[in-house]
C-alpha cells in the first residue's frame, strides 16, 4: 500500500511538471523550430489566413518550379498566424486584418511590416426564391438588417431601393460566421464605418457579439444555411460565392453607385491613396466604381530580419519570394477570383519590402 501511495505522489509531481513544460512551450517553442529550419535552409515557413491559402498554394507552387524554394504554408487562420509570428515559429504570417494594438504590444516593440498581397471582397447572398432581379442594398439597410431592426423582407426601407421588385412578406433570417474569421472582420469593419449604431453596439472584429441571427461555420456553413432557409441573408467571400453560383446583392458604395461585386470592382476599391504602411481598410473607400466591402490581405514579417539564428541567405530568399508575389505572382489572382493589386498598391508594397533590413542594412535594392 505504501508503495502505491509513493507512486501516486510521484505521479502528481510528474503531472505538475508536465503541465509546467506545456506552459513553457509557448515561449520556448521558437528555439526548437529555429533548429529545424537551420537544417532545411531552402524552406520558408508561413502561417495564417485561410482566405489566402488557395492563392498561396498556386503562387508558391509556381515559384517553386522556377527557383526550387519550398514554402510551407499552414492555413491556420489570421489570428493564429499572427500568434506564430509573435512566437517566431514561422518566417512570415498572413492576415486579413492589420495587427491591432494588443497584438502589436505582444511583439515587444519589434516592428512588423504589413505587405499587401491580394484583395478580397465579402458579398451578400440571400435566398428569395421568387425574386429574380438582383437586390440593391444600401449601407443603412444592411446595418439595420444585421442589427435585427429590419425584420421583414417587404420592409419599406428595402422596397425603397428596389422599385419594381416584388418582395415577399417573410421574416429575414440573418446568417453570420460562427467561427472567428477575416471575412467577418472586413464585414464588421464596413458596418462600423457606415453605421453609428453598429459601431457603438457591436463594433468590429473577427468575432463579435452578433445582435441577431444564427451562425454557420466557415463559408460553406453560412452558404449551406442560406441555401436551405427561405428568407435568409448571409455574407461569404466573393470567391466562394462565384465558384458556387450563388445570388448576391449589389451594394451601394460611398459615391452612391450600386456595385456588383467582382474581381474588377474589388481591385477598383483598392485604387485609392494608400498610406505608406499600407495598413488601411478598403471598406467604403472613395473609389467611384469600387465595391465597398473589400479588404486587403497582408503578409506580415519582422522589419529587422536578423533575429534568432536566421541567416542573411534565408532573409533574402524570403524577401525575394514576397517581391515575386506582389509582382509576377499577381497574374494567378484573377483565375482564382482574388483581386490583383492595383499598380499604386504594388508600388507601396514594394517600398515596404525594401525597408526590411538585416542587421540594420537593407536587404533588397
Amino acid at each position: 500500500m505504501k508503495l502505491l501511495k509513493n507512486i501516486t505522489i510521484a505521479g502528481l509531481v510528474v503531472a505538475i511538471c508536465g503541465a509546467m513544460t506545456l506552459q513553457s512551450c509557448n515561449g520556448g517553442g521558437s528555439a526548437a523550430t529555429n533548429d529545424s529550419t537551420k537544417t532545411e535552409d531552402n524552406t520558408i515557413l508561413g502561417a495564417g489566413s485561410s482566405f489566402d491559402n488557395p492563392l498561396f498554394s498556386k503562387m508558391f507552387a509556381e515559384y517553386n518550379k522556377t527557383t526550387g524554394l519550398k514554402v510551407n504554408y499552414q492555413s491556420v487562420g489570421s489570428g493564429a498566424g499572427i500568434l506564430q509570428l509573435t512566437n517566431k515559429t514561422v518566417d512570415f504570417g498572413a492576415s486579413d486584418a492589420p495587427m491591432n494594438a494588443k497584438q502589436d504590444s505582444a511583439t515587444n516593440g519589434t516592428a512588423v511590416l504589413h505587405i499587401p498581397v491580394t484583395a478580397g471582397a465579402v458579398v451578400l447572398t440571400y435566398n428569395l426564391a421568387d425574386v429574380k432581379d438582383t437586390l440593391k442594398i444600401t449601407p443603412n439597410v444592411l446595418a439595420e438588417i444585421f442589427l435585427g431592426t429590419i425584420k421583414k423582407w417587404n420592409d419599406a426601407k428595402i422596397a425603397a431601393d428596389n422599385k419594381g421588385v416584388k418582395l415577399p412578406n417573410i421574416e429575414i433570417v440573418v446568417v453570420h460566421r460562427s467561427d472567428g474569421s477575416g471575412t467577418s472582420n472586413i464585414f464588421t469593419t464596413y458596418l462600423s464605418k457606415v453605421s453609428k449604431d453598429w459601431e457603438t453596439k457591436v463594433g468590429k472584429g473577427s468575432a463579435v457579439n452578433w445582435p441577431a441571427g444564427q451562425g454557420g461555420k466557415g463559408n460553406e456553413g453560412v452558404a449551406g444555411i442560406v441555401k436551405q432557409t427561405p428568407g435568409a441573408i448571409g455574407y461569404v467571400e466573393l470567391a466562394y460565392a462565384v465558384q458556387n453560383n450563388m445570388a448576391f446583392a449589389k451594394m451601394q458604395n460611398k459615391a452612391g453607385n450600386f456595385i456588383v461585386p467582382s474581381v474588377a470592382t474589388t481591385s477598383a476599391s483598392a485604387n485609392v491613396q494608400l498610406p505608406a504602411d499600407s495598413k488601411i481598410s478598403l471598406t467604403n473607400t472613395d473609389a467611384a466604381d469600387g465595391y465597398p466591402i473589400s479588404g486587403f490581405s497582408w503578409v506580415l514579417i519582422y522589419k529587422e530580419q536578423k533575429y534568432g539564428d536566421r541567416s542573411i541567405d534565408k532573409a533574402t530568399k524570403m524577401l525575394k519570394l514576397l517581391q515575386w508575389v506582389i509582382h509576377d505572382g499577381q497574374q494567378y489572382s484573377s483565375a482564382l477570383n482574388y483581386a490583383p493589386l492595383p499598380d499604386a498598391a504594388v508600388k507601396v508594397a514594394d517600398d515596404i519590402l525594401k525597408s526590411a533590413t538585416y542587421d540594420g542594412k537593407p536587404v533588397l535594392q
Binding site: K102, G180, S206, A207, Q214, Q228
Partner: protein, 327 residues
C-alpha cells in the same frame, strides 16, 4: 497483504534463507531456484509496468486539469466568478460570460438524453430479453454499434441537409420562427448519436440477470411484461443508469455535429427551438482566430468549465449508481 505468499519481497527472502541453510545444494535445486528468481523478477517488472501505465493516465488527467487552470488565469483575473453567469460574450470589448453556452450545453445534453433513453432501453430489452441470439439479434446489435462508429461530422451533414428542413416544417406547423437549426435539432442529432452507449450496456446487464430469478417469476404466473418490470428492471437499474451516464458524457462533449446544426449564436435561447451554442462548439469555432490573450484565456476557461461540469455530473451519477446497488 504483508503475509500473503504473493508478496514477492517476502518470498525472495525465504528462498535466500533456504539456500544459505543448504550447504551443498544439488544442481537440480539450483536450476529450479534460478528459474523462480527469474520468474519473480519478471513478475515484479510486469507489475511495475502495469502500475506505471495505469498511473500515466492519472498523470495525464491531472496534467490536463493543471494546464487548463494555469492558462485560464488571465481571464479569471479579469472577470472573476462573474464569468460563470455573465450573459454577454463580446470579444470586441473583452467581456466574456459563459452562461449562454453553459445553458446550451446542459439543455442539448439533457434533452438528447430524454429523447434517447426510451429508444436505448427498448433496444437493450429487445436484444437482452426477447431476441438474445439469432440473425435478427446480430443484425440489430451490429447496426446499433455502427451508430457509434459513424464520425460525428457525417451526423452534422445529415442533420444540416435532412433533419433541418424537417424540423423547419415542423416549426412552421407549430408556429415558432422556422429556422430549422437550433437547440432542438442538435438534441435530436445527439440523441441518435448516444443511443449505442446506453443500449449496449443495458443489453449486457439484462443478459446477466440470473435465469432462476426469471424462471421463478414465470412459474409464479408472471407475464413477460411483469418479469421485465419487476425482475429485470430492478435487477439491472444501476447498470442501465451507468449506460445513461456514458451517453450523457458523450452528449456533453460532442462538438462537430452540434456546431453544424445549433445555430451558433451567443444570445440566450428563448425556447428549445431557438438557436444557441454549446461550450464545445464555441471553443471549436473561435479558437483559431482568438487574437487577444484574454480572449484565448476565456476560451480555455470555457474548456475548464466543461471539464468540471463533466466531473460533477459523473460524481453525482456515481452516487446514484451506488445508492441503487446498495438497496
Amino acid at each position: 497483504m504483508e503475509t500473503t505468499v504473493n508478496n514477492p519481497g517476502a518470498t525472495r527472502r525465504d528462498k535466500l534463507r533456504v539456500t544459505s541453510s543448504l550447504q551443498t545444494p544439488d544442481k537440480v535445486n539450483v536450476r529450479r531456484l534460478r528459474r523462480s528468481y527469474r520468474q519473480i523478477r519478471t513478475e515484479n517488472a510486469f507489475r511495475k509496468t502495469l502500475i506505471i501505465m495505469a498511473l500515466a493516465i492519472f498523470v495525464l488527467v491531472v496534467g490536463i486539469m493543471i494546464t487548463l487552470i494555469v492558462q485560464s488565469i488571465p481571464s479569471m483575473k479579469l472577470l472573476g466568478v462573474k464569468y460563470l453567469w455573465g450573459k454577454v460574450w463580446d470579444p470586441v470589448q473583452d467581456i466574456y460570460g459563459a452562461y449562454p453556452f453553459l445553458l446550451g450545453t446542459l439543455l442539448t445534453s439533457f434533452l438528447a438524453l430524454i429523447i434517447s433513453v426510451p429508444f436505448s432501453f427498448a433496444v437493450a430489452i429487445v436484444l437482452g430479453e426477447y431476441y438474445p441470439r439469432g440473425w435478427f439479434s446480430n443484425l440489430l446489435k451490429n447496426v446499433v454499434e455502427l451508430i457509434a462508429a459513424i464520425p460525428s461530422v457525417i451526423y452534422g451533414f445529415w442533420g444540416l441537409f435532412v433533419l433541418v428542413p424537417i424540423v423547419r416544417n415542423f416549426e412552421l406547423k407549430i408556429g415558432v420562427q422556422p429556422m430549422g437549426v437550433g437547440i432542438f435539432t442538435s438534441s435530436v442529432i445527439l440523441s441518435i448519436m448516444v443511443i449505442p452507449y446506453a443500449a449496449s450496456m443495458g443489453r449486457e446487464m439484462i443478459r446477466m440477470v440470473p435465469s432462476p430469478l426469471k424462471e421463478g417469476a414465470y412459474s409464479l404466473g408472471a407475464t413477460r411484461w411483469e418479469v421485465i418490470r419487476s425482475i429485470i428492471m430492478p435487477y439491472t437499474k444501476s447498470g442501465l443508469f451507468a449506460g445513461v451516464l456514458l451517453s450523457l458524457g458523450r452528449a456533453l462533449g460532442e462538438t462537430m455535429a452540434v456546431t453544424m446544426v445549433i445555430g451558433n449564436t451567443s444570445l440566450i435561447p428563448k425556447n428549445i427551438f431557438s438557436p444557441g451554442n454549446t461550450m464545445a462548439s464555441v471553443i471549436a469555432n473561435e479558437f483559431t482566430e482568438a487574437a487577444s490573450p484574454v480572449y484565448l484565456s476565456a476560451l480555455i476557461e470555457l474548456g475548464l468549465v466543461l471539464f468540471l461540469v463533466t466531473v460533477v455530473i459523473n460524481m453525482i451519477g456515481k452516487r446514484i449508481i451506488k445508492r441503487f446497488t446498495n438497496e
